[in-house]
């Protein structure tokens, strides 16, 4: 399928990212910048209780406050709107944008107050009186799994949303024949991507045209479909403006409840309404927390360290509502053995509700926690056998000649050369030297450790986990589209049909179209029509846009080129295969005739009499691309998940003072192979940003709930994001193994770095504390936890000695 002409002129070259110009000038157009005449503002009133019955709501005083227009309750909204969609077939786990009858987590929104300004709306919200009757609640995952626990949704009967066991291959046999086994538990703390821009949305209803206009900081597949369903209006009455810049998302900007609230209010009040979360709203109840997962892992291996089989139980705490959270246990099935030749796997995926905020899609969609569990297993096998951690990985890696490689759970990995990437990293970093450096630091009385992680980034954003986990779901396409129009003056405009949150999709589309048409990408305009003018698409999720938008743009440009060639052949009176297309001009070898770009444009736009039979006038093409390799529903619990698999190999040296325990990353090297890179600046930025995010997940960031069900980390003072001090200089070692399934051999990179850095950093810290005979089995590993554990270990040792 790879049919790109070589050499590439624009693809893979270090060209600037066109979006950057507007942002450095402060000219981005974010949702909070959308100026609407007569705009009203919403503030929400949160519940203080993790679980309580709403006895009464008294808004009379609030309504008398200056500037206040309206107070919306959950009861009213529930009559006007459908419950929000669930990924699984769990009809009794109903989720409304505002609590109805009962609150299910501390911070959950109970009423929305509308006023002339946000400040007035907040003043109003303070005056709403809600009487609650506290109910029993459950926070802990294991407790929630216990069938005797209080169900968050009594109508559902229990807290279990999903409990499914898959067995791929001969697990029992492999365990029985393996001489060695080991098992352990690790926990991935609840964190999120926490973009610097909170979620925001503005909506306006035009009753005469029957159009709901929506501007939102959104990154969500089928966003307008969900709005239409929730509000029970035709989808062609919903117009989402996709030219709104999104101030970061990395998965989480899925504010459907916020959108339903403002859309309903805009219709109800006849004025545009907006809700921009403040940081507290966002942290506590933006419904944007990530996976919260306990892994119990058991592996069977031999004395050479070859891992034959694995049993994994993943218990995930979805929070108070279902949404798409359980699916984040499904996606990792597509890379459940990581880069290793593990022959069989038993996987039990459990998702439970609890009285925490609802979980949403986070960068990697569950893959980073799973990679952390797999990599911990490999480290432990190495330790059990006294083998080097890199050597053991090399022994278990799939070899480059074995691709495409079918893993037990049904996905065929496209391509890779893991051994070469590792060799390149080791040569670059001087692994032996790094070990000496660690030992010298230890000799100085410091804690020093090396961390290693090898993992995959499944990319291409197919949604096969939906039909895999939900039998009622028969989705087998997750398409993306592109349209190209050459106007009557010869200028090229490309349309893309999604919002972006910093991924550089305009640059991507222009580069690809410029490459195929052999014209300067800087001359190509890229626009984002609103959703009513858009072709089918699924937004930038699952590291899919290089593959899917890049692929759609490629095929559209090919169609356009084919039309030009056919048009030219007709002028020359020759067959199409004789035409030479170069730089927008065509020629016919053997004749001196040539048609320029302008001449093709002119014929297509003005000279119908010169067009070949049956050709439509104009120069406009579209392409709707199906996800490569996605062609059937799951069979027997096996499915082809994503089409492409990027590889990353992390090597980290961490050092810290044993008394203080504040880890400093002294060296960070990553080997990265995402196939053909379309824009090197963009891929580099994704990788560095992903690593920074992983540093946060492994050392700093967690949404902590206390035993009373209250979230303790509600601001940036408690929920710490890595600053420039915490993120080291990162050295990237490149390798390119093209994917056979994509147009240029490209793979995804939107989650790169993040998928392996938590595992690598955890490994480094555990290596650093290994002389004390301790290790950490939960992320994040906070400074205090490190110094406390070391102090405790020392005390025990002294006691034993005395």
């Amino acid at each position: 399928m790879s049919e790109a002409e070589i050499p590439l002129k624009f693809v893979s070259s270090n060209r600037r990212v066109r979006e950057d110009r507007r942002f450095v000038a402060g000219q981005g157009h974010y949702v909070a910048d959308v100026a609407l005449e007569g705009l009203l503002h919403v503030a929400v009133l949160p519940s203080q209780h993790p679980a309580a019955r709403i006895v009464s709501i008294d808004a009379s005083e609030a309504l008398r406050m200056p500037g206040v227009h309206y107070v919306l309750t959950g009861e009213e909204l529930a009559k006007a709107a459908e419950p929000l969609m669930n990924g699984l077939n769990t009809p009794h786990v109903k989720r409304y944008p505002l609590a109805v009858g009962q609150v299910r987590y501390a911070g959950e929104w109970v009423v929305a107050v509308v006023a002339e300004s946000r400040a007035q709306a907040e003043d109003g919200a303070e005056k709403v009186r809600v009487v609650y009757e506290p109910l029993p609640y459950v926070i802990d995952s294991e407790e929630a799994l216990d069938l005797s626990s209080t169900p968050v949704h009594p109508a559902h009967g229990s807290n279990v949303l999903l409990d499914r066991t898959f067995v791929w291959g001969e697990v029992d046999k492999h365990f029985a024949e393996s001489p060695r086994h080991l098992s352990f538990r690790v926990t991935w703390g609840r964190n999120s991507t926490v973009p610097i821009e909170t979620f925001g949305v503005a909506a306006k209803w035009d009753p005469w045209r029957e159009i709901l206009d929506v501007w939102a900081s959104i990154q969500m597949p089928k966003y307008s479909d969900q709005i239409a369903r929730a509000l029970r209006i035709p989808l062609n009455n919903v117009r989402v403006h996709q030219d709104v810049d999104v101030g970061g998302s990395y998965g989480v900007k899925r504010g459907i409840k916020q959108t339903v609230i403002v859309s309903h209010l805009a219709r109800r009040l006849g004025r545009p309404v907006r809700l921009i979360e403040d940081r507290l709203d966002n942290m506590r109840a933006g419904d944007a927390h990530g996976p919260d997962r306990i892994f119990d892992v058991e592996v069977a291996f031999d004395n050479d360290g070859i891992v034959k089989s694995m049993k994994m139980r993943a218990l995930d705490n979805a929070g108070a509502y279902a949404g798409r959270a359980p699916f984040q246990l499904g996606k990792p099935i597509g890379a459940i053995v990581g880069p290793y030749k593990i022959q069989s796997v038993k996987y039990r995926a459990i998702s439970v509700t609890s009285n925490k905020a609802a979980q949403e899609a986070v960068r990697g969609f569950g893959q980073a926690p799973t990679n952390y569990a797999i990599e911990t297993a490999i480290d432990k096998v190495a330790a059990a056998l006294g083998l080097d951690r890199i050597e053991i990985r090399k022994r278990n890696f799939i070899r480059s000649e074995e691709f495409p490689y079918l893993i037990p759970s049904g996905t065929r990995y496209d391509s890779g050369d893991y051994h070469t990437v590792v060799a390149k990293v080791l040569a670059h970093a001087d692994y032996e030297g790094l070990k000496r450096e660690r030992d010298e630091l230890r000799a100085q009385g410091l804690c020093a450790g090396i961390g290693i992680a090898a993992c995959l980034e499944p990319s291409g954003g197919n949604s096969s986990f939906e039909p895999l986990l939900n039998d009622a779901n028969k989705t087998t396409t997750w398409m993306e589209s592109c349209r190209i129009n050459v106007d009557g003056l010869g200028f090229v405009t490309v349309t893309i049909h999604t919002t972006s949150s910093g991924q550089g999709h305009e640059t991507l589309a222009a580069t690809v179209v410029g490459e195929v048409l052999e014209i300067d990408p800087d001359q190509i305009r890229v626009v984002r029509p609103d959703s009513l003018n858009s072709l089918p698409g699924n937004s930038p999720v699952g590291s899919r846009m290089a593959i899917m938008l890049g692929g759609a743009a490629f095929h559209a440009a090919k169609k356009l080129k084919a039309k030009i060639v056919r048009l030219a052949a007709h002028q020359f009176g020759c067959v199409e295969s004789d035409i030479v297309y170069q730089g927008g001009a065509t020629s016919y070898p053997g004749s001196s005739r040539k048609l320029t770009w302008a001449e093709h444009v002119n014929i297509a736009h003005r000279n119908f009499h010169l067009l070949p039979d049956g050709m439509e006038p104009g120069l406009e093409v579209t392409h709707v691309l199906q996800v490569p390799t996605a062609n059937k529903l799951p069979e027997n619990g096996r499915v082809q998940m994503y089409p492409c698999h990027s590889f990353e190999f992390h090597l980290v040296l961490v050092v810290f003072d044993p008394e203080i325990g504040k880890p400093k990353i002294r060296r960070y090297v990553i080997g990265h192979d995402c196939g053909t890179v379309i824009n090197p600046h963009i891929v580099k930025g994704m990788t560095l940003g992903g690593i920074a995010h992983g540093i946060g997940a492994s050392l700093l960031e967690e949404f902590v709930y206390d035993s009373e069900g209250q979230m303790l980390t509600q601001s940036f003072m408690d929920y710490l994001l890595p600053s420039s001090h915490e993120v080291p200089h990162v050295e990237i070692v490149h390798h390119c193994t093209p994917s056979p399934f994509t147009v240029f051999g490209q793979k995804g990179s939107g989650e790169s770095g993040y998928l392996g850095s938590p595992a690598a950093i955890s490994g480094a810290i555990n290596d650093a504390v290994s002389p004390y005979g301790i290790s950490f089995a939960k992320l994040p590993i906070r400074i205090a936890a490190i110094s406390d554990a070391i102090a405790a270990a020392k005390a025990t040792k002294e006691k034993v000695q005395s």
Binding site: G26, E197, D278, R279, D520, K684, G689, M717, L721
Partner: protein, 198 residues
């Protein structure tokens, strides 16, 4: 209450509640929406503006407190519409951003650093931007941007006070230095005989 603030060299007047932050006033009353709200509690730096040349959190300051100071927002940095300052251009050169939300604050912070320090070390840069959180980039390309800008500023012959406004003279206004400079597209002239065809 009525206030008049000097913003980007111009005197601007507004009637605001005393509790209104400088950030909200800049955005809502002066429509200078390049300053962003990230946390509104003084941690993230998305709201950074320069007050008498020093990076400051506009979310932590009331508009009424800003009277009498020179305020510079990101809108005041570009030398002319469509033209970038050296620092802004350097962020484009190294792709020192992704979503752009932290970027105005970052650019202003970098600008202030380079006003004080011609030749900042990596540590100086890391320290200077450590009060601005970027969730996208991991800071690597931001540090590179500041280093690149410092280098270019040092190489210009202008006195320091004039440099920040100086666009690199060798730089085309659009497309950057990797643009081909000439496109293959030639506009069709519809009104010429035979539609402009030879």
């Amino acid at each position: 209450m009525k206030i008049s603030l000097k913003v980007n060299g111009q005197l601007r007047e507004a009637d605001v509640e005393p509790r209104k932050t400088l950030l909200d006033t800049l955005r809502e009353d002066f429509l200078l929406v390049g300053s962003h709200a990230g946390c509104e509690h003084g941690v993230c730096g998305a709201c950074t503006v320069l007050i008498d040349g020093e990076p400051s959190r506009s979310c932590l300051m009331f508009a009424v407190q800003a009277d009498g100071y020179e305020i510079t927002t990101i809108e005041g940095l570009a030398p002319a519409p469509g033209e970038l300052s050296v620092v802004q251009d350097a962020f484009c050169e190294t792709h020192g951003l992704q979503c752009g939300y932290c970027t105005p604050g970052m650019v202003l912070t970098a600008h202030a650093l380079l006003e004080h320090n011609d030749a900042p070390s990596r540590d100086d840069i890391v320290e200077a931007i450590s009060g601005n959180i970027c969730r996208c980039t991991g800071y690597g390309q931001i540090v590179e941007a500041v280093e690149f800008a410092a280098d270019r500023l040092r190489k210009t012959n202008l006195p320091r006070h004039a440099r920040s406004d100086a666009n690199n003279p060798g730089k085309p206004p659009f497309g950057g230095n990797d643009a081909l400079g000439h496109g293959v597209l030639t506009a069709v002239q519809p009104d010429t005989p035979r539609g402009g065809r030879a």
